[in-house]
């Protein structure tokens, strides 16, 4: 029992440490500066995070992590548990063969795959992005329209992967990243000027001389601005366009030459992002009118 608790504690510590180290190089968004305007609780975003977490932690993770631990302890049953995890991926992941040949769970896989993840990093990364960008998009749409948009973006991402992927056509795709890319694209369209709070080591270091110079140049106008901050605020358009470029470049390779990029589904990210163009079908009527009259919050 004590050993289990210690294992869990070390596991969480490892996650925090790796997240911290990775955020030194690449910005990790943790929140945006705009408060949720019309709702105090973005419950659909919470619900989506909860469902994703439950599906992975309660259904997939036991096979994956207990199996790995069992193998490490020399227990041969661990292989069978890992195999069960693989079967889950191949049965409920998104595969073109399900659609074209009418086998497995057919088109239902478009929904099941959206709530499955490869490992805990995959889940954590996706949920951080969903938390950061989802709340305000939900606020702009209303919870149910937001859910419809989320599902549509995920579906479009899956379709993009299915139709354009030439690398490994029958490999199962899992993860919420396609849908979340759609949410990020919608955020870019709706709130391009918003400031996103990020952990970013390089940014924090670069900010320091910039603030010092501004303090000298602008004097009292910079009064109250802290010299050092543990987070940096980046314009949403900068962060999201960076995400778009990072996913677009390898996607062209996947589409044209069939290159594989280490299991990262960049095509789904790119297509999901582009699915955000239909966000105007889902934004609340009053906010749509405000958006086009230039008074969008």
């Amino acid at each position: 029992m004590v050993g289990d608790i210690l294992f869990f504690f070390l596991f969480i510590l490892q996650i925090i440490l790796i997240l911290f180290l990775s955020s030194l190089v690449l910005p990790t968004p943790i929140g945006d500066t705009g408060g949720v305007r019309y709702r105090t609780i973005p419950w659909m975003t919470f619900l989506l995070i909860l469902v994703n977490a439950i599906v992975f932690l309660a259904w997939q993770a036991p096979n994956l992590y207990q199996g790995a631990q069992a193998i490490e302890d020399g227990d041969q049953r661990g292989f069978m548990m890992i195999y069960q995890y693989v079967v889950q991926l191949w049965t409920y992941g998104y595969r073109t063969v399900f659609l074209r040949d009418g086998v497995g769970i057919g088109a239902f896989s478009t929904f099941t795959s959206m709530f499955m993840h490869g490992d805990v990093w995959h889940l954590l990364g996706n949920m951080i992005y969903l938390w950061t960008f989802g709340r305000r998009v939900e606020d702009a749409c209303g919870s149910w329209r937001y859910l419809a948009f989320y599902l549509l973006a995920g579906m479009v991402a899956n379709l993009g992967w299915s139709v354009l992927n030439r690398a490994q056509p029958d490999l199962p795709a899992v993860g919420a990243s396609g849908a979340i890319s759609g949410v990020m694209g919608a955020y870019l369209i709706l709130f391009p000027g918003a400031l996103v709070t990020c952990f970013w080591g390089i940014g924090m270091v670069l900010r320091l001389p910039a603030v010092l110079v501004l303090m000298v140049v602008r004097g009292s106008a910079m009064r109250g601005v802290p010299v050092w901050r543990w987070t940096v605020r980046l314009p949403a358009f900068m962060l999201l366009l960076f995400f778009l470029v990072v996913n677009a470049l390898p996607s062209f390779d996947v589409i044209q030459r069939g290159q594989d990029y280490g299991g990262v589904n960049t095509v789904a990210h790119l297509i999901g992002f582009l699915a955000a163009l239909v966000i105007f079908l889902y934004v609340r009527k009053d906010l749509l009118v405000r958006y086009f009259s230039g008074r969008f919050v």
Binding site: V36, I82, L99, G102, F108, L152, L159, R284, K285
Partner: protein, 429 residues
Amino acid sequence: MDAHELYRAGVAAIRDRNDLAEGRRLLTEALRQDPTNDAGWLWLARTLRDPAKQMRCVQQALKANPNNAQAQAFKARLEARLGGDRLLDPAAPSVVPQDAAERVQAYLEQAQARLRAGDPEGALAAWLDALSLQPDHPMALPQAVRYLSRQLRWDDVKALLQRALEAGTTRPSVYLTAIDLHQRLGEFGEADDVRRRLARLPTADEAIVADIVDHFLDEDQVHEAYDALKAAVEIHPKSQKLLLRLGNLCHEMEARQEAAMYYERAARLGVRTREGREADARLEQYAPPLTDRERGSLLLAWREALGVGLLFLLMAWQDAGLNFYRLGPMRWLGVAAGLVGGYLLVTATSSPQQRPLARLLGGRPPAPADDGGVSQLPVMPPAARLIFGLVGVTLIAIAFYLVFPTAITLVTQPNPPGFYIPSFAEVFG
């Protein structure tokens, strides 16, 4: 009246009624009859603002009685002031050169010494010397004003404050004192001028601006209050309190669009504060900020339905093996059911004022309390909305069934066709 009666009446007007103009008139008449009244010349000097004129009065007093100690002290002060004025730099009241700062400090110490020696007039002279170098000095000005006020020498107080204001002081306390003085002297127009200037002052905090606005509103000067708030908001664009106040004022002035704009700006700054929450709640009265044309628009309602229809079309396409030609009539019917179901649901929940549907169903315009009284369009009756909602949900459920026939068959049949899954050996080599 003879000269003595005129003198007594003039002093009474100044001391008891604070009527400087009447006192000046009576004393001038008294001194015309009896120019040897040295005390009369000194009282007359106190009713004047111009130090040069005051000096002429004091010289007359000393001419009548060269031993008048009060006149001698008064003369010394005036000489210091007239000399000090030449040192005054109105452009930079608070930025004093180093040597001047040292001199100001020396004057202040001198004033303290005079006070300890029981010579308040001497202290006043020292304060005035300090103020001649820095007209809004935070210690010298209040002490001089306090002393002169106790002596009811209002013109002197006014002159000191005026000089600080003209020098462009940024200390709100100087403005507030000037406002008090003008109010006390019945100069309400001048007091309002100072209020307007104070509202535009970057150093004036929210509470001061609120007081100014309250005053203008108490006086039914709504537009003055609006101007003061608007100026303050330009200087403090991130003050939720001021933005909310301005929004409320615009609301009272029935400038709804402008009110909504200020509420929105306040709410944008965050809804964690009391003002932010209130602005957000007020904004709800204006939201949706739609015209009746937009409320009644069929197009805007069908837009949302199109979103639902698109979702079902993608589902149908996948179920048909990514081939549109294989969609078949049932899946198309499912897409259409999704579209219509979506429209009914949208109509029931967020677009109940569509023209001419709401009127056909016997709807009535909303009560003013419900939406701020801005809409004249009828709203669908609740029963009709309930029916629309139920039918909409049912159609969406049917649409789901119709667009997914293959997938539903696959998951419900006992022996689904097999598909490739890597074997245990393939996974572990």
